[in-house]
Amino acid sequence: MKILVIEDDKKTGAYIADGLREEGHSVDLIANGAEGLVQASIGYYDVLIVDRMLPGVDGISLVKTLRGAKNRTPVLFLTALGGVDDRIEGLNSGGDDYLVKPFAFGELSARIAALGRRPQMQDEPTVLTAADLEMNLLTRKVKRAGQPIDLLPREFSLLEHLLRRKGRVQTRTMLMEAVWDIHFDPMTNVVDTHISRLRRKVDKPFATEIIETVRGSGYRIDAE
């Protein structure tokens, strides 16, 4: 993917750029809001990573200007502010996702992947599959190797979320936000418990594991 990073803190900027390059992305790094706006408008990028506080033009105004010019490039905001309002302000201005500093690289990488491959508006599938698992969205029935699996509503949502994003890592924070609409860090590893309960039903009775743990990042269902 072609990614533009607009971040004024040199150390953080270099860290992001290096990490993304290692993952095989092509990355441009700019430390100033005004220059970043120009670069974002003329270059074709798959994803923009924008710090909210920038010299020159601040992150929010930058994205607003881009959106005003019908530029729809997905934007991930980075911020040192972590309050509820900041997140909402960021998303309202046209940002697509939001990450609070400091963050683990795995979290950033997972979110970039999600933004770069936003689900295209295809025909809504009625059956989601992975290996020998089948989820019917209409009857809300799950089967693996022909055996029916009984899931609680929230377990169903969790599995559905992972299935819809096959091959992409979903971090604990992403899962919490998407499945439970919870936007703060619980002190305990609550998500891990939900996953392990889901695994007990979906994976344990069978030979292969469908839900995979990605160390230091989160969870993923392999895309075959």
Binding site: T12, G19, G82, I88, A104, M176, D181, M187, H194
Partner: protein, 456 residues
């Protein structure tokens, strides 16, 4: 008014009652004194008149002349004003009444003691009897004036004093109530200030210039300086949190780079993991401090809308239950009835309140404890409560645990940063909800009372 006991305890009311009492007593005393003096005067005048009459009869030397004179006088003397009664040693009584009780020196005779015969008599007489010629002469003069004077004075009291007392009472009550109301306002403001609502002020009119205004102004000045102090303290902690975030981000970056780019031994990886966990904790503490500052700023209120606490409670319990269960705790949700529990607020913040309270319970109780979440209604309020059967919080410490960064001695070693309950308290204040901590005997009972929103 809030009951008698309170009315008596109200200083202005009590003062009014005392002044009114003194006024009534002194008025009554002065009227009584005036009455007594006037009566004494009247009686003295009557005594003189009676003496003079007796003397004028006594001056007549001859018994026949005396008797004739008395007979004439009795004919023309109105018994209603003066009673003449002469009992000669020999012969018939000469009198303008039929019977009179024996008297000697000045004494008061009532109407009932007199046998008036066919004559009209008055209510009360002053009488004296003396030996005149060869017989006993009694002269009695009516005290009707004295009696009437007493009645007049009584009417003066009734007509004059009563309305005054009534008026004074009403004026006093009014003044007392006005003062009471102003004192109540001051008291309410002080309560709000104590409760952490630092923007509360006593309303002061421009033209008011009395002692209560002085107190109000002083209270407001105190509140303003407190507010400024707290604001600057908050600013400092927010600034520190902001300033430290970038260096912490860098530390995290460096640690992450080491893990990813350097070949590490087993022990080094563990140490790095620990360092990352600790940076994560620092970040979470800062995050919480910044969020606190933002919530206390109050701007989030713009986003408030009707929120169903029943959904919030179900979601949070659904989210936390498996983990609690896995660790050996019982998490239990009771909802009084199925109708929505609407409050005006922000769903995410309310979710956080409940999650923090449950996590707080899980963290500070031994494995096997039960955490109960209850949702109920009380009048026009929605009551959300979280209780446990753990060791609880010592009674005197209930207020302290709501302070930021405060941790009980017994919890120093557990997870957490001492901001969870401060956040809960701040979010409750923002929502106009009442947060209280009680003893659950055993354990802790946290109650949050929200004003219920009536669906339009």
């Amino acid at each position: 008014m809030r009951g008698r006991a309170l009315a008596i305890r109200s200083t202005p009311l009590r003062l009014t009652a005392i002044f009114l009492g003194i006024f009534i007593l002194s008025s009554a005393a002065s009227f009584a004194a005036a009455y007594l003096i006037i009566r004494a005067n009247f009686d003295a005048t009557l005594e003189d008149e009676i003496e003079q009459m007796i003397e004028s009869y006594d001056a007549i030397d001859k018994q026949d002349a005396l008797v004739n004179r008395l007979k004439d006088d009795v004919e023309v003397t109105d018994a209603e004003l003066t009673i003449l009664h002469y009992q000669p040693d020999r012969g018939a009584i000469i009198a303008n009444v039929d019977g009179l009780p024996p008297v000697s020196d000045f004494s008061i005779i009532g109407e009932k003691a007199i046998d008036e015969g066919e004559h009209d008599i008055s209510d009360s007489y002053l009488a004296k009897s003396e030996r005149v010629g060869q017989g006993q002469l009694t002269v009695a003069k009516t005290r009707v004036q004295v009696v009437e004077m007493g009645e007049i004075i009584l009417s003066v009291v009734l007509i004059g004093l009563l309305p005054t007392i009534l008026l004074a009472s009403i004026a006093g009550m009014f003044a007392a109530r006005t003062a009471r109301r102003r004192i109540d306002t001051i008291q309410k403001t002080l309560g709000e200030l104590t409760g952490g609502q630092m923007t509360a002020r006593v309303p002061v009119g421009k033209d008011d210039r009395d002692d209560l205004t002085t107190i109000s102004t002083a209270v407001n000045a105190m509140a303003s300086s407190q507010e400024a102090l707290i604001a600057s303290m908050r600013q400092v902690s927010t600034d520190i949190a902001h300033d430290l975030k970038t260096p912490i981000q860098r530390v995290a970056v460096i640690l992450d780079e080491i893990t990813r780019k350097t070949a590490l031994s087993e022990g080094q990886t563990d140490l790095l993991e620990q360092a990352l966990t600790e940076t994560d904790r620092i970040v979470k503490t800062f995050q919480a401090l910044l969020q606190l500052a933002q919530i206390e700023g109050g701007a989030v209120r713009d986003r408030f809308g009707p929120t169903d606490l029943q959904e919030v409670a179900a979601d949070v319990v659904d989210f936390l239950e498996p983990d609690a269960d896995e660790k050996g705790y019982h998490l239990d949700l009771t909802i009084a009835d199925a109708a929505p529990y609407l409050v005006n607020g922000d769903r995410h913040l309310l979710t956080q309140v409940l999650a923090n309270l449950i996590e707080n319970g899980l963290r500070h109780t031994p494995i096997g404890s039960t955490i109960r979440v209850r949702l109920a209604r009380s009048g026009t309020s929605v009551v959300l409560s979280v209780s446990d059967n753990g060791p609880g919080i010592p009674l005197g410490k209930h207020d302290k645990v709501l302070r930021r960064l405060y941790r009980l001695e017994q919890s120093r070693t557990t997870e957490g940063n001492g901001l969870g309950l401060s956040l809960v308290a701040a979010i409750c204040t923002l929502h106009g909800a009442q947060l209280s901590l009680d003893d659950n005997t055993p354990g802790l009972l946290v109650r949050v009372v929200f004003p219920q929103v009536v669906e339009a």
